[in-house]
Amino acid sequence: MRRNAVAVVGAAETTELGVIPNMSQIQLHADAALNAIKDAGLKLSDIDGIATAVETPQQIAHYLGITPTWVDGTSVGGCSFMLHVRHAAAAIEAGLCKTVLITHAESGKSMIGKLPRSMPADSLQGQFEAPYGVYGPPSMFPIPVLRYMKTHGITHEQIASVAVFQREWAAKNPRAMMKAPITVDDVLNSKMIAYPFRILQCCLVTDGGGALILTSADRAKDFPNKPVYILGTGESVETPMVSQMKTFDSSGAFTVAGPTAFREAGIAHKDVDHLMIYDAFAHLPLYGLGDLGFMPHEETGKFIADGNTRPGGKLPMNTNGGGLSYMHSGMYGMYALQESVRQMRGIAPAQVPGAKISVCHGVGGMFAASGTVIFTNEK
């Protein structure tokens, strides 16, 4: 894909984040979409492409009153929106549409109008994983981490520090759910969820949504906000069964999506000013730093524990507080993208001064899928 050929020209989250008991899931989509359309200075009728996940594109198009010429219903979990950005950029480049709306919303906490997630008894997961007592992401996503720690020499304290430093970022974000400072001891003494992970190493459960609007870079300068260009993208999938990953020492999907995006962008790791790594659980930033090639996996725990990703560190990461402290409605990828866009526009509550390149890396399912988007504010 050509670098910087497509830009984000509208970006917004739902009016409220957190606990939203007065809105159904589909209305959260609409709330985010209308906010993004306003942010871009557009009318609904300007939208000719639509992408969403879990909810179908036809559901969202009909509810908003949009007649698209291009749709994408890629639904691979929380990183679906990174893939939507990649697909939308390709579609705009190919002339299939001009202005794409990507929406996410989930009534993850209030469960109003939320679609059921099921694991049928005759699916592979239903036959070969569910009978052993897996029950929701907290019982599944951490399954690889003990092996990862043993292989790479990572300590419990190092992984706990992920939650500590993200809380420092969250404290700078007025919309973050959890802002009170925590220590490594607080993390390691919090309620046990699925050993080795305790509640402060697991994501929040909240309501909310977000939406993005993309168009060609040639048109982007006519919009009210600073354009944020798509510099590089990558995507992949591995397996819906965490037990069937090729190795627990890294993520197969990460090792395709991340490096593909870096190659497309033509940048080196030292060029990255700002980093988002989807943190549904505290081990994901370690996997991400290693699999995206920032450093060997053996160094990831120490790198974070030494404070390199905290406020003032040399690689600011998860600057909204992440899924651990900002919000997590179930599919967090959209919020990581929103924070990258805010950082590139220069309007983030915890702004990284002078940031020009932001890497936004997402996961879907339990290491099942991955998408990476690299943004820049310089053309």
Binding site: P120, A121, D122, G126, A130, G133, Y135, V145, Q244, F248
Partner: protein
Amino acid sequence: MAEPARARPKPTPETQHYWDGAKAGELRLQRCDDCSNVYFPPRPFCPSCASRKVSVFQASGKGFLYSYVINHRPAAPGFTPPYAIAVVELDEGPRLMSSIIDCPQTPEALELDMKLEVAFEKLDDTITLPVFRPAKG
């Protein structure tokens, strides 16, 4: 309201041999007749070379503890926390999710790389689950 039931596998035509094997006290895997790849979960072709010439065989039932969590909350219906959800690497190569029986469900007792052997837990008249216990000797 009735308590939700424990999840029970429902075999498909492609996996029936595996569940028939478990019921008979055998852990069955598949091997490609063309490239010798041993794989799991069951399917009637080789995921390495795409050959449809594959055979079912009885695995040794021996392996080691690759990784695990000890689930505390929320517990799946039919399970009493804390309980381990393990991934076992078989001597033949494939890994599978399982439970570890005859062993305290603690980090101290559940040592990565510990040797394991298959056992069978009957759920009902049609389904028996392969599980693992620490290997003797």
